[in-house]
Symmetry: C2
């Protein structure tokens, strides 16, 4: 079995690995055999620039992290029912990056486990049942997290995973492509408009005699299409949720640990104080570790429920040694500052490209979390889905790994390892310029379909053709019932090169 050829690997994968586990670039997948920093290498020695792996946060195979792991693995790796310094050191270090009230930490193995525990904490603390999530949100693959992940459930075609009645979907506060757009409401406070939709849901919950449990959102929406929330949005939403006795969860699994550059956590950009924060992916630079950080009050309510919380590997000495090492590298190498500088640099370059290429409808981002919204028409903002897929595959041929996301998969996504440099940015811009020129040429030749998806009419109120999902607003009926809105289908794609990586 040593040294399998790529064909043998593919053939064994087909035989032994679940079909639902998609490969990037499905029709011509990459076999990656090593990686270092922001670069990955295939079996032929080709070097790829990795623009999307936000898990290998401080750089693939970072020496400092690997050596910290090795050092601890040789000495002890047992569960957290024994006292150990690593767990308390990492908990303290995490708590110190948070608002003072967030001081209690639970360790888990994945973002999914962390969000599941956050749900459990919220339920035991509030005794409420009703949950509000954002449309197109993704919070994890376990059943409880799937329940609050329209990004996933929208794709369910056998009807087996319906939204539970207690889950309410609020519109994603996307001012470019969402329900309320900057172009339709110039000068208006869109944060307030979107927040009012959450308030309306809460009012309906109360009208039915139900009790709020939680509101959960990434503070910048990743899978939803690199959505940066309008100013003031979360502040208002959190106030409404708190007034209703609910708990506010900030899911920082994809967007935390300094990626946004200006702050350590993305909720800080919105100036809010969550009641629960979930963190994961970048935390272990590839090692399975995640955490839930909450208040003394919520932790105490949970303890009173009579059930202990034991997570076999959560907070083990090796995971915590790795978590500590990652946070130390973030500080030592000033990665947030670098993310801010490099993010600013590439965003400016992309804005210059925007002057040349009409296909770029919007550039949005914070630090090294960047989205390029490709459109067929800047006025209608019709998503250029096919074109985005073309760009993705052409960039791969140029040894640059990007991904697409958003409900129309027309948004080019960048969230590279934080060591991503100006030189790398220049490389991306150079290859993207060539590729977009090709796209323009192909558009002229009619090689991409020019059809109106209707995205400009219904905005974010996308409704799946098989599983109706209500995005609740004042004008829409309750959960479970088909929304009284015109319908449109988001394009479906077999090959996904993005999704919750």
């Amino acid at each position: 079995m040593e040294g399998l050829s790529k064909e043998e690997t593919i053939s064994l994968r087909k035989k032994y690995i679940g079909e639902s586990c998609d490969l990037f670039f499905h029709s011509d997948p990459l076999k990656i055999v090593r990686a270092s920093g922001q670069y990955m290498y295939d079996e032929l020695g080709n070097q790829y620039l990795d623009c999307i792996n936000n898990v290998c946060h401080v750089g693939h195979c970072h020496d400092y992290v690997v050596e910290a792991a090795y050092k601890q693995m040789k000495v002890l790796n047992t569960n957290n029912r024994y006292l150990h310094d690593n767990i308390v050191k990492l908990a303290k270090k995490l708590a110190e990056t948070m608002p003072p009230k967030l001081s209690v930490v639970y360790f888990c193995n994945s973002g999914s486990e962390a969000n599941d525990l956050a749900i459990r904490l919220s339920r035991h603390h509030t005794k409420g049942t009703e949950m509000i999530t954002l449309d197109h949100a993704y919070h994890g693959h376990v059943v409880s997290a799937m329940n609050i992940s329209p990004y996933k459930i929208r794709k369910n075609t056998d009807g087996v995973h319906p939204y539970p009645e207690f889950v309410h979907v609020a519109p994603s506060p996307d001012t470019y492509r969402g329900k309320y757009r900057d172009c339709d409401h110039p000068g208006k406070d869109l944060g307030e408009k979107y927040a009012n939709d959450v308030k309306d849901i809460i009012d309906k919950v109360h009208a039915k005699g139900n009790k709020m449990c939680l509101f959960i959102a990434e503070s910048m929406q990743s899978c939803g299409g690199q959505v940066i929330f309008p100013e003031g949005y979360l502040k208002k939403v959190y106030r409404y949720v708190h007034d209703a006795g609910g708990v506010c969860i900030a899911d920082e699994v994809q967007v935390g640990f300094g990626r946004v550059g200006s702050h350590y956590w993305s909720f800080q950009i919105q100036g809010v104080e969550p009641d629960i924060v979930t963190v994961g992916k970048p935390m272990g630079n590839g090692h399975p570790i995640s955490a839930v950080i909450t208040t003394n009050e919520i932790s105490s309510s949970f303890a009173k429920c009579g059930m202990s919380y034991f997570n076999t590997y959560g907070g083990n000495p090796v995971s915590c040694a790795i978590g500590l090492a990652v946070m130390e590298v973030i500080e030592q190498e000033r990665l947030p500052q670098k993310a801010l500088e490099t993010g600013h640099y590439i965003t400016e370059k992309l804005r210059e490209l925007m002057k040349i290429f009409a296909i770029i409808g919007d550039i949005r981002g914070q630090g090294l979390f960047i989205g390029i919204d490709l459109v067929k028409d800047r006025k209608t903002r019709e998503p250029a889905t096919e074109e985005a897929e073309y760009v993705l595959h052409r960039m791969k041929q140029e040894f640059i790994i990007l991904s697409t996301d958003g409900p129309y998969e027309n948004i080019l996504k960048m969230k590279p390892p934080m060591c991503f440099s100006r030189t790398d940015a220049d490389n991306v811009i150079e290859k993207l310029t060539v590729t977009l020129k090709e796209v323009e040429e192909k558009q002229k030749n009619g090689e991409f379909a020019v059809k109106n998806h209707g995205a400009d009419k219904n905005h974010n109120a996308v409704i799946d053709d098989v599983r109706p999902i209500s995005v609740e607003t004042t004008t829409v009926s309750g959960p479970g019932e088909p929304a009284d809105l015109e319908q449109e289908d988001p394009p479906t794609k077999k090959v996904k090169a993005s999704e919750d990586i």
Copy 2:
């Protein structure tokens, strides 16, 4: 923060770690700083014999596993959306230990994630809703797994985590302490009697017009009190479940990878072929890795649901290198054979102790999975809970780590790393002899309460005083309704030194 004293560690833990995360020996916890093989060492250099860590399966910090991890960590650790040899090699190796029909593998990070995915697979495959689990079962800490874990939900005192209506609890087929006991039904086929209770549940499901989804059980019940099932039990149950169109899940998270000695998986002892097997804990020797193994048919049904399955760390090259190394060590060091021999050796020694000490009501086990059921009275089988707790703490003073479990926490549990030797067994027997003599002395002096818990009357139909749980049988009403049986409270204990480790 270097070199914290034990007091400082305790104080930081109190401040920063969730109160629900219990420590072993709560009132005087251990600070373990290193471990090797079957031994752990505290901050003073004291050596403890670890009789309970089934996660560090091939021995704490096994060189071969650590070096395999280090080697891979230096080279590549990314997600499974790129082709890699490690994931297909491990999937193939796992599948080769299973019945031929079980050939498709999904990788996750924990037993909880694996059982959650098994539930999802079952739902999409059967389109049924109803699930049958065994009383006192534990299948994980995420919401979906908690739903089928009476072991946990029985302890919920705030009513926030009720059993869903679709979950049905069958009696645990415990022939010593369960509903049907060897003493009450001499010479009877108790496997059949217990299996008939499952059939009755299925009949009731059908009578209500509902459709079966799954039956899940460990093939030997760990948290339930080291329960070895009567011969033929699972064969009959699996047939009833299959006849009803349901899926049978064998949870091997705690009891797999050769622990039982005679077989690689404990379901093989019962001669059954599950439709889904979940594996975890021992798989990574402490590293977070788990897997779901299923059939082509079930995997294909899941793929048809339209939602891809992506697990950020699941099947990454490091996790899989570790999984491969663990399986190689199991083979190279002939650990199942050793478990069989050492398990046989210590069980025989324990049976000799049983002749001396009336407190030992039952010795049961397979390989290095052993339970010692302590009773106040062999005839009534009243659980000797206080005595078990005393033994636990005294053994700790003798530098031997055991745990207690079962609904009455009166069962001394052994599931040590597989390198546990005859010398270690002799050590345990020697210290246990001394301790049990003390217990006898104390019993004579009236230092343990002599009261009848009534365990002999209601057998396994324990009902929590706050959350009524129906153990469904022909004579008991449906789920959610209080069972029409006399009630008794299992003793509650603040300090748990066992639970799903």
